[in-house]
Symmetry: C2
Subunit: 232 residues, 2 copies
Amino acid sequence: MAQTPALAQATAPGAGDTRERLLDAAERLFGENGFDGTSMRALARAAGTGLSAANYHFGSKEALLTAVMLRRINPVNELRMQRLEALEAQAGGAPLRVEAIVDAYLRPVFEIRAAFIQRDSPSPWLAARIYSDPSQAVTKLKRELFVGVQARFLPALQRALPQRDPRDLEVAQQLTTGLLVHVLSGNVSGSGLAGPDGGHDYGRILCQLVDFATAGLTSAPATRPASGGRPA
Amino acid sequence: MAQTPALAQATAPGAGDTRERLLDAAERLFGENGFDGTSMRALARAAGTGLSAANYHFGSKEALLTAVMLRRINPVNELRMQRLEALEAQAGGAPLRVEAIVDAYLRPVFEIRAAFIQRDSPSPWLAARIYSDPSQAVTKLKRELFVGVQARFLPALQRALPQRDPRDLEVAQQLTTGLLVHVLSGNVSGSGLAGPDGGHDYGRILCQLVDFATAGLTSAPATRPASGGRPA
DNA sequence: GTCTATATGTTGATAGAC
DNA sequence: GTCTATCAACATATAGAC
């Protein structure tokens, strides 16, 4: 529950040493302008240091992105896993409710995000930007960070919805991730996360996300086999 | 129904003049690597011409992006409007079915896309990439191109779902766009659009998208007022 | 219209002083 | 550890020949 993540060494919470300030600047600028749209110079300037300090601490731009991603995504994924395991332990072998699975998948992102923006940062959530970043430098990293969790949640969804085609369900799971990415990239105007104070009261948008995704995952294609073509 | 859009002057469909080849190359490269990740040099080389030709025809990189976006998005938006108007004319004042509205919003993208990839281009749909592109050069363009259609579809959704909070419904509409962006950016592996031959048989993924979005839009938050917090 | 050549600035990364 | 200075490569855009 401390402000500093588990990876960082002990630092003063107000100032932070250079390495920490570089990570903070990278989180904000990569999130706002993307990987290709952020230069190491702009990044160092935002951290109040020189260009060489960034390369000294991280070695390369790509390594810096990896570091700042890991710092945030690891706690999120651990929390997701904990929530899902708690649900399964409580259910004792019975299938879980879809809404509970979705909540365990979505809520940790908002919780961790809210815990780390006591600063003035209503910037987009870095991981969401990276998820839809076309730069070749991030595609590998993307898969390494997100595939594991999705592979862990999919079987739970399949047990909760045994009547659905497993492949369709996998697509629906990825669509759920798409909803999350869209919101956290700041593309949903009424969400309360796109504005200047975005990110603190996430209750409403999270409920809407959970409802939307739960309905989409559960949606039996009942109307499909009846009507072959496009509705006129 | 011709291969050449309304904006372009008559050109041979196989070869095309330099301007057309530049637009084709821009559509592919901007879609694959984003705005910042695509250089004018790489673009000219892909079009089989020199750097100066690109600047002669379009004046700047940003103007080239605008041109290639308009070439594809205008037909899509016109088709969306036509479909929605046809639905309303047929309904004669009665509210439309949600699924029909969603279909009118999503299907034209796939139809236009499939019509213009007789080439070897399984690349991401440019407009989807641009929608989540953080580059400042594209944000204005983005709004100009998409706000109109969304403003046109929202009232139809509100009439179809009068019991839903209009603001929640607007969020849900934007979430639907998020689903579309996610799929057309190539982030859904089982969709048939991420692979090498992606884009031609879009029937399955379109059905899944329509089902998911319809369920999400329709989803009455029935479970929400009963349970205040997170499900345990 | 398209080319070669160039102007002008920025990029990521490094060398060496301190 | 952090700085200034610098490298080689790349960026967008333009000038002028043809």
